[in-house]
């Protein structure tokens, strides 16, 4: 990842139209930072429309095109409706955003160091298991139990995250291999522990943990409204704090500078006296801490227990978040909010119109793709190719 945030909108005073008139296309071009994501979003919606239309085979066979249009309209109206319209949708958006943001930060920090953390799932699983153990085994006052449980989760994530760091720095194991392996290992370990007496809920034969005690449960965010169905919890505040920490670390500290230098050019960083091994391990430790926090927030706040799949696919979705947010703190927050909103809206869409929530996955993939391809966007939307950049870049196995 040479430079993730190469701003394509830098030359604002670039020579525009020779006649002195700044045409619409030029103006679009100069506001690239906003326009590009917007155009990417619109393009994704257009393709999503096609997918909805062509998968409606009953109506297609009947030739009921009006009905198809209605479905599309209802589906796309349900998305913002289910994400923002009222306390409950906002609450659901926050619930979906929280783990995405934390896990997204776990990917973003490694992207900044030129590393690729596919292991968010494993780090979440280990962190969450540590958290849930403290969450159900203690019975102390919240003021002690919650910090302990959250801390245990972060510690678990850090331990699991530091393994690929050490393997990379000391033995040259590519982090893509090690994190994939560690995800599977964590999954098996979680399943094993959930069956042991240590974790399994009394009287249950399926792998499900004991319930987190009320004292160990993260307080609800909207407790003041006295509506128990609003399940958003203070994990969201942890996530925002983590994003702030990420910003501070990466932009304001010497360590952050070194991490960025390592990501930009490892050889140069080493030549300048930095220690790549230390930076790799530290980046992975921080990433593990973020992901562990995500796991903690899921089991202590949202779910109240651990099951085999409590981390879901969040570790992978987080890669999308980091890619879309270009691994910047603000970008990651906005990307997580967008994907969280899409997730919440998608649930509403599925219930109201029968269009499967998987549409959100499609939209998400297309948004990442289009954001990463400014040249393609410019070709499709016929924007002038002035100052065309090749989008965010991240060197794969090699450089």
């Amino acid at each position: 990842m040479t430079d993730v945030q190469s701003p394509p909108d830098a030359p604002t005073d670039s020579p525009s139209d020779p006649n002195g008139k700044r045409g619409l296309r030029d103006r679009i071009d100069t506001t690239n930072a906003i326009t590009l994501p917007l155009l990417a979003f619109i393009s994704a919606l257009v393709i999503g429309t096609i997918v909805i239309a062509f998968s409606d085979i009953d109506k297609l066979q009947d030739g009921d095109f009006g009905g198809i249009l209605t479905t599309i309209k209802d589906a796309y109206l349900a998305l913002p409706d289910g994400a923002f319209n009222g306390w409950r949708p906002i609450n659901e958006t926050i619930v979906s955003t929280t783990p995405l943001l934390l896990a997204g930060l776990a990917v973003a920090i490694t992207f900044r160091a030129g590393l690729f953390n596919i292991g968010g799932t494993g780090q979440m699983l280990v962190g969450g298991m540590c958290s849930v153990y403290v969450g159900f085994s203690m019975n102390g006052p919240s003021i002690i139990q919650i910090p302990l449980a959250v801390g245990a989760g972060m510690l678990g994530g850090i331990i699991w995250g530091i393994i690929p760091g050490i393997l990379k720095a000391r033995a040259g194991v590519h982090e893509v291999i090690s994190t994939i392996m560690l995800n599977f290992i964590a999954g098996s370990l979680v399943l094993y522990f959930l069956k042991t007496d240590l974790f399994v809920r009394e009287g249950r034969s399926d792998p499900i943990s004991k319930l987190v005690t009320p004292e160990g449960t993260l307080p609800k965010l909207f407790a003041f409204l006295d509506r128990p169905e609003l399940r958003a919890h203070i994990g969201f505040l942890f996530a925002l704090a983590a994003a702030f920490f990420f910003w501070w670390l990466i932009e304001k500290t010497k360590l952050g500078f070194e991490i960025r230098a390592e990501g930009a050019n490892s050889n140069a960083a080493q030549y300048a006296g930095m220690k790549p091994a230390f930076l790799i391990i530290t980046s992975f430790a921080v990433a593990g801490g973020f992901a562990g926090l995500a796991g903690a927030s899921e089991v202590l706040g949202t779910q109240g227990r651990a099951t085999q799949g409590f981390a879901g696919d969040i570790g992978f979705d987080a890669i999308a978040v980091a890619l879309l947010g270009r691994s910047t703190p603000v970008g990651t927050v906005l990307a997580a909010l967008l994907f969280g909103a899409l997730q919440a809206g998608g649930q509403r869409m599925q219930v109201e119109t029968g269009v499967p929530v998987d549409l959100v996955l499609i939209l998400r993939a297309l948004i990442i793709l289009f954001i990463a391809a400014p040249l393609l966007m410019k070709a499709i939307w016929r924007i002038s190719a002035k100052g065309a950049s090749s989008g965010p870049s991240f060197g794969g196995w090699g450089s």
Partner: protein
């Protein structure tokens, strides 16, 4: 370049590597000594695990069934001691003076011995179908082989392929739907075409629009997962006639399948296994012994030089990607042939294991085959063990191959070089 750089380009070309391999037995670079020491430590860890776990087993004779009535028995605990002592000696030799040119061979022997001990430990006092397990191992590794071959072709041409999972899933989906409407054979061809088109999309975006190849790969994975799940939920569940194909029967090769032990393992399989093995041989030959292979490797290593010598770099990349996509898509149709239908996310991360297989196999078809067999074997083993009444939690067996891969990669991982121009855009003059 010795600190923490991992799979990065070591800077020397294939000729230098071969030369270094020749002088290996005479002088060893510090890096090689370190690698050798790491491998030795891995052996010692294996020995410790053997003493701590396998020697403490319930004991008794493990009976391995071969064919219909042939079988042999091994004492679990004596075997464990043999294994532990061998590994300890091997580890000691490896650390003190290295094993030079026998390193890979010895690693293979040690791995087989260790796995045998593991099986004897689990099956102590019971009987266990060895040929059945090997048969299933080969079967389970087949989609990984196809996925890895596609990945190797891609990456040897200089394009990063993270989208193996997406190609496999697209192949599985297409073959199920097209196969339901027509038949499985046409479904296979459709799967190859669709995955091929996806690969061309990857190539087009990477080459024409300079989009980062890792991002495109991931986007394709997400897109295929989303689209197939979407259509599955919206169309296939309510129209089961589009999702049901008769599964593919095994094809016993006459004469060859009568060979004891080898016959039932190798020659009573579906055509996927035969084609997969043939394809490994074919790709190995094509990559290293033909003009096409030389050009492909040149395009992946140094496209500028290849272009100067008259190779059409971009066309080579497009064509190779299309072929890679077709191979992977065919591998995806394995699920349809095996299960007879498509389920949401049926590949379940196998594409990522195939990605690991590519890297563990060092971008070499034969290496990838070995790595794929390791994963396939552990899959089969975990399944077989779940029928044995052993005290081992099946979860530990499921995680064993991943742990073994980690240890093996950590001990021999350094020094693997990837194609030098991997992931870099190329501008054709």
């Amino acid at each position: 370049m010795s600190e923490g750089i991992g799979l990065k380009n070591t800077g020397h070309g294939p000729g230098t590597d071969a030369y270094l391999g020749m002088v290996d037995s005479v002088t060893r670079t510090p890096d090689e000594i370190k690698r050798s020491r790491n491998l030795g430590i891995a052996y010692l860890i294996g020995a410790v695990i053997t003493v701590a776990v396998f020697v403490q087993g319930t004991g008794g004779t493990a009976t391995f069934n071969l064919d219909n009535d042939a079988s042999f028995g091994i004492g679990a605990i004596p075997l464990a001691w043999i294994c532990a002592v061998s590994l300890a000696v091997l580890g000691g030799v490896q650390i003190s003076r290295g094993t030079a040119n026998f390193q890979s061979a010895l690693l293979g022997v040690a791995a087989v011995l260790f796995i045998f001990t593991l099986m004897a430990w689990a099956a102590a006092g019971q009987s266990f179908s060895l040929t059945g397990t090997l048969h299933d191992a080969l079967k389970a590794s087949t989609p990984l082989v196809f996925g890895a071959l596609g990945g190797i072709l891609c990456e040897r041409s200089g394009i990063i392929n993270i989208a193996i999972e997406g190609f496999l899933l697209a192949g599985a989906f297409t073959s199920a739907v097209v196969g339901s409407v027509t038949n499985l054979w046409i479904g296979m061809i459709a799967a190859m075409i669709v995955s091929s088109l996806l690969a061309l999309l990857l190539a087009w975006l990477a080459i024409r629009f300079l989009v980062d190849q890792v991002i495109v790969g991931f986007a394709i994975n997400f897109f295929v997962l989303g689209l197939t799940s979407f259509v599955d939920a919206r169309v296939l569940t309510s129209n089961p006639e589009y999702n049901g194909v008769p599964t593919l029967a095994e094809w016993k090769i006459p004469l060859l399948s009568d060979i004891p032990i080898i016959g039932p393992v190798l020659f009573e399989q579906t055509i996927y296994v035969y084609l997969g093995l043939a394809l490994v041989a074919l790709v190995t030959w094509a990559l290293f012994s033909t003009k096409w292979g030389l050009q492909t490797r040149a395009v992946g290593e140094h496209p500028k030089a290849a272009g100067t010598l008259g190779v059409n770099v971009l066309r080579r990349r497009y064509v190779n990607l299309a072929v890679a996509g077709a191979i992977t898509g065919f591998g995806g149709s394995w699920w349809t042939a095996d299960v007879g239908r498509f389920n949401e996310n049926i590949t379940n991360g196998r594409g990522f294991i195939a990605l690991a297989v590519v890297l563990v196999g060092r971008h070499h078809p034969v290496g990838a085959l070995c790595a794929a067999l390791l994963f396939g074997f552990s899959d089969a083993l975990a399944l077989k063990f779940s029928f044995l009444s052993t005290s081992i939690p099946s979860e530990f067996l499921e995680l064993a191959p991943f742990l073994v891969t980690l240890i093996v990669v950590a001990s021999v991982g350094r020094g693997h070089r990837v194609p030098a121009a991997l992931g870099q855009p190329y501008e054709q003059q």
